[in-house]
């Protein structure tokens, strides 16, 4: 692999992270939290030093191959988290480094699971950094680097492919740089619109910005202990529900709409399935929880909010569904945790597109059993799907299930009940946030053993980067000097 080039790109990423810490410093200055603000400066110093040092490595061969793309992306996300955790520790807000690491990984991977029991005690600049990490992690750091840094465009698709969620990655326009810029522009504009909507709902500006970051990245960190329920406003609940769904849609479709190909965008099979699943889940939960609220409006509001929050893998909660709701509704939410939203969005989960492909190839298998000679290609988005794509989707699913089984088993060493272990694992690998039982929406992950926290952090990274980059990173053959 091309180590020089890989480290060169990693250096750029560290510089970018230093840059991304600056808004938090500004927030610290505004709110006069000088002690907490100062805790950012050593991290920025380290990042700048390492980033500038790596400039010395200017490589002659700038080619990036598929495995380099995986390794760079995986390392980048680990390094981002390693350095991003430092301010929490230095400021004393989260004294244990492992806790801080878990918190920032949860931020960057847009999971939103927290180890803090009292969020409101944190200084505002750290709260901002936590929420801002959702926003960066949602669209991706590498995509950001591609958008702002001058870099030769050849082969950079490997970087983007390793970072953007979904089974296949398409560019919007021929040049990678412009594609990355369009994606970030759409993302930023939608975030600003959401902030404006929240301000109309009488949410304070700082809260609106932080919650907009959490929604846009489909993360789920709140700056209130009670989460969105704190505001107790139907308007805010509805606005956030709608936007969580919007951020769960493939961003390529927004581009199609922008250039006037609206019909094409609305014809997307993945989008239709996604909305259909959300609708069906809302209806099911509505019927199952109506007896709790005795009001069509309130029941609908809570059912839609929870469904939208979980299927988009955001993880906000307007009610404590883990304790209040019947088991059936909880089961629906766990299913939604696994399904996730659309490919090419900021959401996690298996992705509706993959589920669609898996179901269709399963049905095709059944049909083959009945008519062994039937020629029936699996079709998705109106086109026959290449068997190679189906194969890699199956491989992905198998790895996904294996990782869940192994991690759940390990977590059972630490926690007492099966529901907690399984839903903690599912919620982490799918980047959702809340689970059931002891990790429900009003609980936190603070009680886990340090090793379990690291395991869950790893799972969050595996889920955000869609398994392969992390596995490639830990494959010895990638690191061997000789070619084999």
């Amino acid at each position: 692999m091309n180590r020089r080039m890989s480290f060169f790109i990693l250096g750029k990423i560290l510089l970018i992270e230093a840059l991304l810490m600056l808004p938090s410093v500004v927030v610290g200055l505004i709110y006069r939290e000088y002690d907490a603000m100062l805790s950012f400066l050593p991290s920025i110093g380290i990042l700048l030093t390492l980033g500038l040092l790596s400039r010395l490595l200017r490589p002659r061969d700038t080619a990036i191959y598929a495995k380099d793309g995986f390794v760079v992306v995986a390392l980048a996300w680990i390094l981002l988290s390693v350095f991003g955790a430092i301010p929490f520790v230095l400021s004393g807000a989260i004294p244990s480094y492992i806790d801080a690491f878990f918190e920032i990984v949860s931020g960057f991977t847009t999971t939103g699971a927290t180890i803090l029991s009292d969020v409101e005690a944190l200084p505002k600049c750290l709260l901002f950094w936590r929420s801002f990490s959702h926003w960066i992690g949602g669209m991706g750091v590498l995509v950001f680097v591609l958008a702002v840094m001058p870099m030769s465009g050849d082969r950079t698709l490997h970087l983007m492919r390793a970072e953007v969620p979904g089974p296949t990655v398409g560019k919007l326009v021929p040049q990678m740089r412009k594609t990355a810029r369009i994606l970030y522009a759409v993302y930023a504009v939608m975030t600003v619109i959401l902030v404006v909507f929240l301000l109309f709902g009488k949410m304070p500006l700082f809260d609106a910005i932080c919650h907009a970051f959490g929604t846009a990245g489909t993360g789920g960190f709140s700056i209130r202990n009670a989460g969105i329920a704190f505001y107790d406003s139907a308007y805010i609940d509805v606005v956030i529900s709608v936007f969580m769904i919007l951020f769960g849609i493939n961003f390529n479709l927004y581009y199609l709409i922008l250039i006037g190909r609206v019909k094409e965008a609305l014809r997307s099979e993945e989008l239709r399935s996604f909305l259909l699943i959300a609708l069906a889940a809302t209806a099911a939960i509505f019927a199952n929880t109506y007896h709790l609220y005795h009001s069509v409006g309130t029941t609908l509001r809570h059912a839609f909010f929870q469904v939208s929050s979980i299927i988009s893998t955001t993880g906000y909660a307007s009610v404590d569904f883990a304790n209040v709701w019947p088991l059936f509704s909880q089961g629906v939410l766990v299913l939604l945790t696994v399904i996730g939203a659309c490919a090419g969005s900021t959401a996690g989960g298996l992705k509706v597109g993959r589920i669609g492909l898996l179901c269709k190839s399963a049905f095709q298998g059944v049909r083959k059993a009945i008519h062994p000679r039937a020629v029936t290609p699996v079709r998705y988005e109106g086109k026959p799907v290449d068997t190679a794509v189906i194969h890699s989707t199956l491989v992905y699913f198998v790895l996904y299930v294996l990782i869940i089984c192994a991690s759940t088993l390990l977590l059972l060493l630490d926690v007492g009940d099966f529901t907690t272990a399984l839903t903690a694992e599912l919620t982490c690998i799918n980047n959702v946030g809340p689970g059931l039982s002891a990790v429900g929406p009003m609980e936190n992950f603070g009680f886990f053993h340090g090793a379990a926290k690291l395991l869950l952090s790893l799972n969050m990274l595996i889920g955000r980067l869609e398994i392969f980059p992390m596995i490639v990173l830990f494959s010895p053959s990638v690191w061997r000097k000789n070619v084999n």
């Binding site: 050849d154 698709l157 398409g170 326009v173 021929p174 040049q175 290449d386």
Partner: protein, 456 residues
């Protein structure tokens, strides 16, 4: 500019690579999914799978927003249809690759109806380049600029030549009483743009620019003007051979073609009655010797096999054939060949790629942003020769003696063309409005003439 390329084969890929590096937005359409995924992995382009001649495929690839469509698919018919469809969709410029001599001959009839701005024929272009080189056999390459008024040739200095007497370049023009300029020198694989105090050595590859007459004079003075090529042996009877033989026969050169396939040989004999067509294996050295390999003025290897071409060319070189040329389709192989008897290697792909890029540059020049009229790449693309037109308003450049201009490093003004006359510039000359200026540059991308100046 937005450019759509139909066909992602060898030529399509190489053109896409070059144009993408020059900052254009490239869309590639190919019917093979593998080709598209490979291309979009290695280049910063967007790909569409589909038949590039189909109206609906071109529409979904967004061709109507393109400024130019380049059709380089396998078959001529697809290329012409793709251009026609693109034309109907409102693409102003289209380039089609048309290779079949039967179409090529009568293309002027259809050109307008098909909306073609330009057709490229790699085999014909390669043949034309070979013919140019055969006119000046001591040159390893010959390029034409400014509508043929300026020639750029490369020659390898043999030992004992008067140019390698330890004289500086600046002393030559007086000694030889000619005005031609050494634009670039390749020595041991390194390429330099020489200053006046550069001392050439035997074995250097010199790039000389000047009017064709001056070039001929200087070659005569330094004793490198070999006598005219009067008979040529061509190995292989493909399209390049056909075009080359036709061109050479027109100039009265005697041509022998060795072709293995009986039918092809018969067809050639029918089309080229004045050439001698031999049916046999070009790798059969016995046959070549029998047909007078050691008495011929030039040997050109044009079979479909790169390795065979190289080997038979080297073989001919070892048998004292004065000029040996080999055709190659894969340039990676060419870079491996370091044999002094084989200096001239022609790749139809590279020749055509340069032609297309030159057209694109000219298009960009007409747009407000740039004004490069044409661009040639020398020495595997390490040196560029760009042609500019000096227009009014270039402050700090026009009307100033060249020796007072602060040029960037690795930049040389190779030639001026004023009122149809080529001028080899000296320090006292100045660039005037309306001049065509040839600029030789290394490791610098020039978008306009004023880019040659040191940044202020």
């Amino acid at each position: 500019m937005q450019i759509t390329i139909v066909g992602g084969g060898k030529l399509g890929e190489s053109v896409a690579r070059q144009l993408q590096a020059e900052g254009h937005e490239i869309t590639v359409v190919d019917k093979e999914e593998d080709v598209i995924s490979q291309l979009s992995n290695t280049l910063d382009v967007i790909g569409y799978v589909g038949n590039g001649a189909s109206y609906s495929v071109l529409r979904s690839a967004g061709v109507e927003n393109s400024d130019l469509l380049i059709a380089l698919a396998e078959t001529d018919e697809v290329n012409m249809l793709a251009c026609l469809a693109a034309h109907k969709l409102g693409v102003e410029h289209t380039i089609a690759r048309v290779r079949d001599p039967e179409y090529d001959d009568h293309l002027y009839v259809l050109r307008e109806d098909l909306g073609l701005s330009m057709t490229v024929n790699p085999e014909k272009a390669a043949a034309e380049e070979i013919a140019r080189i055969l006119r000046l056999p001591s040159a390893t390459h010959v390029e034409l600029f400014a509508g043929g008024r300026v020639e750029l040739i490369s020659i390898r200095l043999p030992s004992g030549n008067i140019l390698c007497d330890g004289l500086k370049l600046s002393e030559f023009s007086q000694k030889l009483d000619v005005t031609a300029l050494v634009c670039a020198v390749e020595r041991n694989g390194e390429i330099v743009i020489p200053g006046g105090d550069f001392v050439p050595l035997a074995g250097d590859l010199l790039y000389l620019a000047g009017s064709p007459k001056e070039i001929e004079t200087i070659l005569k003075r330094i004793g490198l003007l070999a006598h005219r090529v009067e008979n040529v042996i061509i190995a292989g009877g493909g399209r390049v051979s056909y075009y080359l033989a036709e061109e050479l026969l027109r100039k009265g050169v005697k041509v022998k073609i060795v072709e293995r396939d009986v039918e092809v040989a018969e067809e050639l004999a029918e089309k080229l009655p004045r050439a001698v067509i031999l049916q046999g294996d070009a790798a059969d050295y016995e046959l070549l010797s029998e047909e007078g390999l050691n008495r011929t003025d030039a040997f050109v290897a044009l079979t479909g096999l790169d390795e065979g071409n190289i080997l038979s060319a080297i073989y001919a070189g070892k048998h004292n054939v004065p000029k040996v040329i080999a055709k190659i389709n894969n340039e990676n192989i060419a870079s491996l060949v370091k044999d002094e008897s084989l200096e001239t290697i022609i790749s139809p792909k590279v020749v055509t790629g340069n032609d297309i890029c030159r057209y694109v540059r000219a298009m960009a020049a007409r747009s407000p942003e740039g004004n490069v009229l044409s661009l040639y790449k020398l020495a595997d693309g390490r040196v560029e020769v760009s042609e500019f037109r000096a227009v009014a308003g270039m402050d700090g450049l026009l009307g100033i003696p060249l020796r007072d201009l602060k040029l960037k490093k690795n930049i040389l003004i190779g030639c001026l063309v004023r009122d149809g006359q080529a001028i080899v510039p000296h320090g006292v000359d100045e660039i005037r409005e309306g001049d065509f200026v040839l600029v030789v540059s290394r490791e610098t991308i020039l978008n306009e003439l004023s880019d040659i100046l040191e940044d202020r």
